[in-house]
Symmetry: C2
Subunit: 216 residues, 2 copies
DNA sequence: TGTACATCAGTGAACGCGCGTTCACTGATGTAC
DNA sequence: TGTACATCAGTGAACGCGCGTTCACTGATGTAC
C-alpha cells in the first residue's frame, strides 16, 4: 500500500481528486469522464480500469464528500467533549463551510447525483455513519435541553434541513443583500440557529465576539 | 390576446408546458430543447422563433415555477386574512407541495439553473415579488410573536432555508424511514416548524387532527 | 369579393461538438525458476 | 543474475448518439387596394 506503485501509481485516487478539481473549476454541468481523465493526465479510456462507468466515478466522489464531512464532525465532537452546544454549532459550521468552500463537490455529494446508491457499499456506509453522527448529536442536544424534545429523527430533519437549505440559499444568491452585507456567514448561521435553539446565544463561542451587532 | 391565433396558435406557452412535462417525465438530466419541441409536436428548430436559446427556455420555465408559488401564497394569505399562524403554515405547505408534486420543475425553479438571471426581466420580477411576499409574512409572524424577533431578512433565511432543505432531504430520500413511515409529509412539516415557532402547535389547523400521534 | 403582396411561424437538412463506452493493442512491471 | 512468462495499467482508434444552433426555405395567414 505504498503511495506509488508501478505505472501511474494510484490512478484511482488521482482520478477522484481530478474529478473534484473539475467540479471546482467547471461545475457539475462541465463534469465529464473525459475531462477528468485529461485532468489526471491520462487517456479518456483509462478510468474504465478503475470505475465501471461514469456513475461509479460520481459515487466515489460523493463518498469522498461524505468522508470529509464525517471526519470533520467526529473531530469537532472530540474537540469539545462535554459541550453539546459547541458541538452543535461547529458541526453546522463544518457542513456549511464545505458548501461554501467546495460548492459543486458539496452539490454532487448531497444532492442525490448517484442513481443507484445501493450498488456502492462504500457510499452507503459513509452516509449511514454520517447520518448516525448527526442523530447522536441531536440526542445529546435534546438531553442538554438545547432544542425541543420529541422524536430525534424529526428534530434532525429540522436541523439538517435548515442547514442544507441555508447553504443552498446563499449558494444560489437568494439571500437579501441587506443580510449578506451586514453579517458574516458564520454570524448568519449562528443567528439563524438561534431560531431553533431554546435559549439563544449572544456570543460566538469561538472568539466570544458579540453576535448581530450589524457590522461585519 | 385570444387563446389561438394562426399557425400553431400559442407555441410559446405550449413549449413551456411541454418543457414542464419533460421535466416531470425525464428529469433535469433528460431535458433538452429537442425533446421539448418533439413533445410540443413541432420541429426541433421551431422553439428558436420564441426563445433565443436553451437558457431562455429554462428561464421561462423557472419564471412559471415562481409564478405558481407566488399565486398560491397570495391566495393563502387572502384566505386567512387575520391568522398569521395559518398563513405561515399554509405558505410553507404551498412551497413544500410544489416540491413534492413537481420535483424537477421545483429544482429548475429554485436551484439556480438560470445562469444570467438579470437578462430575464420577467423572472427577476417574479422572484422579487415572491421574496417580498415571504418577507412580509415573516414580519407579520414576528409582530404576532409567533417567531423570534430580530432582522426579518435573517428570520426569513432561517424559515425559507429550512423549508427548502426539508423538501430537498425528502426528495433525495435522506430522511430516516423511522420518520417517513410514521408521519405524513404535512405532519412532518408542521412538527418540524414547531422547532422554529415560539409556541408549538398541537393540532393541524386544517382539520384539527392531533399532531405527532405517531401513526399516519 | 378578388387579387397581389408582405409577414412570419414552422420546416428540414446540415454543421460541428463532446460525450460514454468498447476493444484490440502495447509495454512496463512483477514473478517463477 | 538471467531468462521466460503472466499480469494488468494505460493507449488510441473507432462507434454511435443526441445535442444546440444556423439557415435557406415553404406555405399559411393577414392586409391593402
Amino acid at each position: 500500500m505504498g503511495t506509488k506503485s508501478y505505472h501511474h501509481g494510484d490512478l484511482k485516487n488521482a482520478l477522484i481528486q481530478a474529478g473534484i478539481k473539475i467540479l471546482a473549476e467547471e461545475g457539475i454541468e462541465g463534469f465529464s469522464l473525459r475531462k477528468v481523465a485529461r485532468e489526471a493526465g491520462v487517456t479518456h479510456s483509462a478510468p474504465y480500469a478503475h470505475f465501471a462507468d461514469k456513475q461509479a466515478m460520481i459515487a466515489a466522489i460523493s463518498t469522498d464528500g461524505y468522508r470529509k464531512v464525517y471526519e470533520r464532525i467526529i473531530n469537532v465532537v472530540e474537540q469539545f467533549p462535554d459541550d453539546p452546544l459547541r458541538q452543535f454549532i461547529e458541526t453546522a459550521w463544518v457542513y456549511v463551510s464545505f458548501g461554501f468552500d467546495e460548492p459543486d463537490h458539496f452539490k454532487i455529494t448531497f444532492s442525490g447525483s448517484v442513481e443507484r446508491e445501493r450498488e456502492y457499499p462504500a457510499l452507503v456506509e459513509m452516509t449511514s455513519k454520517t447520518f448516525d453522527a448527526l442523530r447522536q448529536l441531536i440526542i445529546r442536544c435534546q438531553q442538554a435541553d438545547l432544542i425541543d424534545r420529541g422524536e430525534p429523527d424529526l428534530a434532525a430533519v429540522t436541523v439538517w434541513g435548515f442547514v442544507h437549505g441555508f447553504v443552498h440559499l446563499i449558494q444560489e444568491g437568494m439571500v437579501s443583500h441587506i443580510v449578506t452585507n451586514r453579517y458574516s456567514r458564520r454570524e448568519m448561521l449562528i443567528l439563524s440557529l438561534n431560531h431553533i435553539l431554546k435559549t439563544p446565544i449572544t456570543k460566538d463561542p469561538q472568539d466570544d465576539s458579540p453576535l448581530g451587532s450589524g457590522t461585519k
